[in-house]
Amino acid sequence: MAIAKKSVVWGLFAAGGTVTAFLFPALIALFLLVATGNVPDGLQFETFHAFAAGWFGKIVLFFVISFSLWHASHRLRVVFHDFGVRQDKFIARAVYLVAAIGTVLTAYYLYAIR
């Protein structure tokens, strides 16, 4: 049982690591463009709403956000250990709970965008 659980967590971690390594630089660059006042056409309300309302946009956004969240929480759990916090059971529950909440919120908001 312990092995089965571990492989799920590890799989999400590896998938999320690849997703974040490939996508986050472009994503942060888009946020940077917005911050400098050069809002790209695709991020204007009409176009981005239409993107998130379509099934392609929903699938992309859901998988990118949830994989990234599970990746970040698993890594954060290890980081806590590395910084000398040894209450692993509590930390694990807390970080995975945050990832689960984020995943549910993403699904809910994507469902609400129509």
């Binding site: 472009a26 942060i28 660059a29 946020f31 940077l32 790209p40 695709g42 709403h49 998130a52």
Partner: protein
């Protein structure tokens, strides 16, 4: 009668400061905070989008248009590229060794393929966002 074994004292909280490799490892691992931050930032954007108001969306975008966020995103971008993306690609041949017949494919091939794929993926994101 046996003596207690000698246990070299290692600090639990500052051990990574002893060695450059450990420091680099820690810098890579803490990028997970950026991943978590940007994930929830995007969820906030989706929440506002789900509200269905163009004005709320525009004021959300306008609220980020200041020097603080320019600096934050610029530093985050460089930090993430150097310590996460490029490091992840460097590790890729170790994690995904490619067997070709009798031999393993040279590591540099796998790294180059990752960089090419990264450029393609980034171009697709920018294309979807209407930047290019």
């Amino acid at each position: 009668m046996s003596r207690n074994p000698y246990v070299r004292p290692v600090s639990k909280t500052t051990w990574y400061m002893r060695n450059g490799r450990y420091r680099k490892y820690m810098l890579r691992e803490v990028t997970c905070l950026l991943v978590g931050f940007y994930s929830f930032f995007t969820i906030c954007a989706l929440a506002i989008l789900a509200g269905g108001s163009a004005e709320a969306w525009n004021s959300f975008l306008a609220s980020q248009q200041n020097g603080f966020w320019i600096g934050f995103h610029a530093i985050a971008l460089i930090f993430f590229l150097v310590y996460m993306t490029f490091d992840w690609f460097k590790l890729a041949p170790k994690a995904l060794p490619l067997q070709l017949g009798e031999q393993k494919a040279p590591e540099i091939y796998i790294v180059v393929v990752h960089y090419v794929a990264w450029i393609v993926v980034s171009a697709i994101v920018f294309w979807l966002a209407g930047v290019i």
